[in-house]
Symmetry: none
DNA sequence: GAGAGCCGTCAAGAACGCGTCAAGACGCGT
DNA sequence: ACGCGTCTTGACGCGTTCTTGACGGCTCTC
């Protein structure tokens, strides 16, 4: 069952929202302030967050920013402020929707369905990547390869994080460059080669024949878990 | 560059939107009615759609439904109607956001950024093509033919993608050349022969007698699903 | 029945993408 | 100011992919 975290300081609205959510088949968790929200997310990442910006302790925007530091969980922002600037700020900070009070409950629920629909299952972000050979702990920034702790540079971590977040799916060169180096690096496909190379030397059992960090020629890269080997008995390379 | 399709019947709004979008680094395409919108999407799937529900020809909701039949491209709906029921209907039909007029341009642009952020790269394209013999997963760029995974080159994928997007309809040589190789290749009908040939060897059970990737002489090509066989009991080839 | 147009087929050279390496530039802490 | 680790940049070789031209068969037209 999908878990929705409701962050709101008004007890009445909190209760109403929780009831409506449960009536629609979600598991609703409620907290009254920003600190509790961040703590709750740290314990268990919900499938979506409904965040009221008018909170007693922290600025709601600040809460959103902190959430985005560690997670890509969908966030629907509630606010009494209708100013366009506020909306743009929240949306650009990573909010997935911005609903102004007063709002219709049916509409809010529909918008929650929308963000849940778009978010990949368990979008809270992979905290770890583990195979029989490699083990990456992103929270701790620890990499263990074949029992040995291996040191990775910041850029190498971002590279792996981006790939791990895709959970085995293909990550295009553009996305990778944008995620790791920021905007404006779309031309530097060189970087990808260099770092893919370095990472393979660090984490692959056989860097020449990558098993985890694989290239999709012309497309991008992909981080795979332990593969059910596709029965290639010896891959005998014809001697030249 | 990201392509945004604007569907609106008001010339003024259309122009304003297009200008704003271009100023923010998007490629803007504009159409004035539902039919043109569907046609434009059939030709080339944009990265996002801004769809005004008040259209002269088709009901906007109907347009949205048709879009969702073939594509998961992000759609931001514009509407003058503020009724909650309308919003819920559109959102549940697959709209990614619902903005009521009048709206602030900055807000709309922010909301477009949001939906683009969430949508996987090229999510608008055809999802898959499956027959008893061939199975193409465009998102993963995986081709499985008779149980075996087959490798396709980037150009081969674009070729098949373009044909699959037409969903069995004829794709003219011009369109094909334009989609796969870009503008300025209209003269190179040779390429089509070469790649059609290569693809048939890879995906057809009997490359000499194409069942899926069929030629329309003098016209173009077409990608067909499993055909209700037209009673050709053995396809007996007269011995030469 | 000859000719023209179109399509499928093939193969070779060019162009491209990727892995690899190493030398500098840069930034940070001491 | 110095040294260290990290990032950037350019160059090279190799394999793959694309481009290009040529040839033969088929069909439709005259």
């Amino acid at each position: 069952m999908k878990v929705v975290l409701v962050v709101d300081d008004e007890p009445h609205l909190r209760r109403t929202l929780a009831i409506s959510l449960r009536a629609h088949g979600y598991e609703a968790e409620t907290v009254a302030d920003g600190r509790s929200a961040l703590q709750s997310i740290a314990e268990r990442v919900p499938d979506a967050v409904v965040l009221d910006l008018g909170l007693p302790d922290l600025d709601g925007v600040e809460v959103l920013r902190r959430i985005r530091e560690t997670s890509t969980v969908p966030v629907v922002v509630l606010s009494a402020r209708t100013d366009s600037t506020d909306k743009v700020e929240a949306l650009d900070l990573g909010a997935d929707d911005y609903v102004t009070k007063p709002f219709g409950m049916q509409e809010l629920l529909a918008r929650i369905r929308v963000v849940l629909r778009r978010a990949p299952d368990g979008a809270g972000g992979p905290q770890a990547f583990t195979t029989s050979h490699v083990s990456l702990d992103f929270a701790e920034r620890r990499a263990v390869v074949a029992g040995e702790t291996v040191h990775l540079t910041p850029t190498e971590w971002r590279f792996l994080e981006t790939l791990a977040a895709a959970d085995g799916r293909l990550v295009s060169r553009e996305d990778l460059l944008h995620q790791v180096w920021g905007p404006g690096y779309q031309r530097e496909a060189n970087y990808l080669r260099v770092y893919a190379n370095q990472l393979r030397r660090k984490i692959e059992p056989e860097p020449g024949a990558p098993r985890y960090l694989v290239t999709e020629p012309g497309q991008g890269y992909r981080l795979l878990g332990d593969a059910p080997r596709t029965a290639s008995p010896a891959t005998p390379r014809p001697a030249p």
